[in-house]
Subunit: 499 residues, 2 copies
């Protein structure tokens, strides 16, 4: 017999089996199951989250193998520096202070050679200065009464730490010696204060310096000799990439604005949109450029770059590019605007505008080539001239617009009544200003963009002068050598952006 | 007798005095003097350089007293933590490892509370995780043969250090746990490797953790209790300042474009230029905003802000503002452009354009007030409506332009021959498109700016919803309380910008 009982508000089923006992039927899809499902969901969610994280990491690794190499280099540097623990003679050589060497490697090893050098030099200088000062203050304190000693030490720590902290707010110090100032505070506090407890202070300072020297030299050697990643090189590539992106964006924007065919496949649209958005990278790369340029100044001569390569000029090029990108962003805003110019007007100017934009992007691409090959362009004047001719063409097209419309008006007049036809052909058509507005803006923006592109050209030419680029003679040879690696690099970056 | 001799290429004068000796005349204005002058110049130059540096620092301190307070706080924290050296019971309490506490204070104490908290939590977590893992790996190694021990330790250091370094490249980790990952590598290397030499590894790890706890708690207490500088507060103020700057820039640009009187004093021009350039600060504040928003998330509830205040929304407001600033930058470019619209056209549109720009800046200022008082604005819909009416007015003015010109043409016609006068009055004047172009662009840009300002309004209203701003009821009361401090702040910032 099967009976249903309501116990404590829950329905429970029991079966009276033949031997007199009644067995409770536990509902399979009940609380336990729900808990199981919940846990299962949590675990699956957690695993999925980790999986996605790992996938992201894997994609990052695949798209930027340099970063993976950097990680291997850090691992290697740490393994090497830990030899100071494993090998007794080495360990005793640094008086059991191998810890500082390990710490130095962890803290100082950065992605680019320039950053590593900057930190190494800052750390060494900061430690040395603060160490000497700390020993001096400690000597002064030790000459005085034992009770006043902590007071002197405390006040000196307070004053110097405050002053050094303040110096870190001053832009010129912050840009180059921020880390050094921190190490100065750290070492000064440690040396002067611990001098109160440590007897052989001089030995202590000496050991610290020597372990730091060991750590920094391991870092410098590994980061410079094993697949070095130069900040200068990265900055140079970034600038070239940004120039290309600007060219693509400009071309893409103008094509998009004047395109007539709406039956574009979604794929094409996506690619086009990606190209269009390139100017955003340019707008956002200020901070990266500044830190790269800052680190590049610490780097020795490498590749095509001298020790005194004018890295600051790259910032000027960057500023000129952002200036231009701002204009392209406004232009891009016009594409998505609701108010559009009448089609016949657009058609009239489509060709001249497209020609101007293609001439402008050719100039930008020529600049990218100049930087890539590091040779002065022989044809840049010609190209800028052509761009300016295109501007003139556009202006002429605008000026001839009323006349042109008079000629093309019969087409429109067909729709008008026959009586008025004669009149329409004879009179110039008055285009309401509101209709011209959107197109006029696009035209002005295009002209403005050419002006700003000339700013970029000037900045690049100044760089070419300062860095003494050679004239373009055997350009073809160098073109054959370089693009292969660089194109690969560009693809890498595009993949990264998707990540 | 006086004789000139040429010795070793230099002219030398000697005087034969009566007693037969000849004395060499040393030219007073010669080499020694020149060296003296050179040294003097160097010293003066050096002193001047230092003087200028100190002046800069002083100005920075005067304009941003918060930074000076921060420096004093760092000095205090260090003085307090060094008590662990001076007082014997404290020193012995941490087993002579007071060094780690000092180090923690130096490394962890940051300008804002959020940054300090972020670093403290990262440091504590990183140390704890890496310490446990290090002890585990050390235990595994200690079970094996003594010769294999360094190999196991070395491989584990290599693998974990590489992995942790790689994780620092992943954007989500980099934003929040960059410092923690570094501390993880540091502690893991130290614990696992030094375990090879240090006997009481557990004690070592325990002491490190406790000293770090001491250091971090001193930092947190001092940074939160003594004149705390909240990242969230700074971000909030920055956003308000940027809104005001946008409003000033827009107004300034339009006034500058339509101004007729060229006899402006240089002082006025300077002030105006300063106002005009405000949008540049907006364009450049992306990095600051991001780091502030990142730190603000670590902060507890403070002032008007809850723990879960929607800091991310500030980034959206920032993006909307930069979007608008880009347009203003293009507009600003038009002011300095060589091609200008004819004066009579400008005069015709001057009033409507100025009205539109003033309505737009009123909307921006209302947004600034909304954020400052943290109360939903009751009149924003009205103000946006007025702005849109102004847009319509501008459009109407443009549409009526041909007719208007017909009316105003007699003025122009006076210059024409009397015969043609009648004709001129009757016919509409055809303005060449090239002449309209610059003005048309300015008009379109102004309209585009209003669209983007609506984007800002949407973003701020979303913030008001998310942060549950109260409706504006006792607005006047809060207005009386707040502006005094904020205005002072604004002045501070302006002074700083001059520095």
């Amino acid at each position: 017999m099967v009976a249903g009982k309501d116990m404590s508000g829950q329905l429970e089923w029991s079966v009276n089996v033949p031997n007199g006992r009644s067995e409770i039927l536990v509902p399979e899809s009940g609380a336990v199951n729900r808990v199981c499902l919940g846990i299962k969901g949590l675990v699956v969610g957690f695993v999925l989250k980790i999986w996605r994280f790992l996938e992201k990491a894997w994609n990052l690794g695949v798209s930027e193998p340099k970063k993976v190499i950097h990680c291997v280099k850090v691992g290697m540097a740490l393994s090497i520096v830990s030899l100071f623990y494993y090998m007794r003679p080495l360990y005793e050589g640094v008086g059991g202070n191998a810890m500082w060497a390990v710490m130095t490697v962890v803290v100082v090893f950065e992605y680019t050679v320039g950053a590593t050098l900057c930190k190494c030099i800052n750390r060494a200088t900061g430690t040395f200065l603060a160490g000497s000062l700390g020993i001096g203050v400690h000597w002064v304190a030790s000459q005085s009464d034992e009770k006043i000693q902590p007071v002197i030490l405390g006040i000196s720590v307070f004053l110097l730490a405050s002053a050094a902290t303040f110096s870190r707010f001053i832009p010129s110090v912050k840009a180059r010696f921020d880390y050094g100032a921190m190490i100065f505070i750290l070492t000064f506090s440690l040396v002067s204060v611990s001098g109160y407890r440590v007897d052989k202070l001089f030995d202590y300072a000496h050991q610290r310096l020597s372990t730091i020297a060991i750590g920094t030299s391991i870092c410098i050697i590994i980061s410079m000799l094993l697949c070095p990643i130069w900040a200068g090189d990265e900055l140079h590539r970034l600038t070239i990439r940004n120039l290309k992106k600007l060219a693509d964006s400009l071309d893409g924007c103008v094509t998009e604005y004047f395109k007539e065919d709406e039956t574009e496949s979604i794929n094409e649209k996506d690619t086009n949109n990606n190209n269009l958005q390139g100017y955003k990278c340019v707008l956002n790369s200020k901070a990266t450029e500044e830190s790269m340029a800052n680190f590049a100044r610490w780097e020795p001569a490498h590749g095509h770059f001298n020790f005194r390569h004018p890295w600051k000029q790259y910032l000027k090029i960057g500023a000129a590019m952002r200036n231009c990108a701002c204009c392209i962003e406004t232009l891009n805003g016009r594409i998505n605007s609701e108010i559009q110019a009448p089609e016949f007007l657009k058609r009239h100017l489509s060709d001249v505008c497209k020609r101007l934009s293609s001439h402008s992007s050719i100039v930008l691409e020529e600049m990218a080539t100049t930087m890539k090959t590091m040779r002065k362009s022989s044809k840049i004047d010609l190209l800028v001239g052509e761009m300016n001719f295109a501007v003139e063409d556009l202006q002429n097209a605008l000026e001839s617009l009323p006349k042109q419309l008079m000629i093309s008006s019969p087409l429109l007049a067909i729709e008008a009544s026959n009586d008025a036809k004669e009149e329409l052909i004879m009179k110039p058509i008055l285009i309401p200003l509101m209709d011209i507005l959107p197109l006029a803006t696009v035209v002005t923006l295009l002209i403005e963009i050419t002006v700003r592109i000339e700013g970029i050209v000037d900045a690049v030419e100044e760089l070419a002068d300062q860095a003494e680029f050679k004239p373009q003679s055997d350009q073809k040879k160098s073109k054959q050598n370089q693009p292969a690696t660089d194109d690969h690099d560009d693809e890498t970056v595009k993949t990264l952006q998707k990540v």
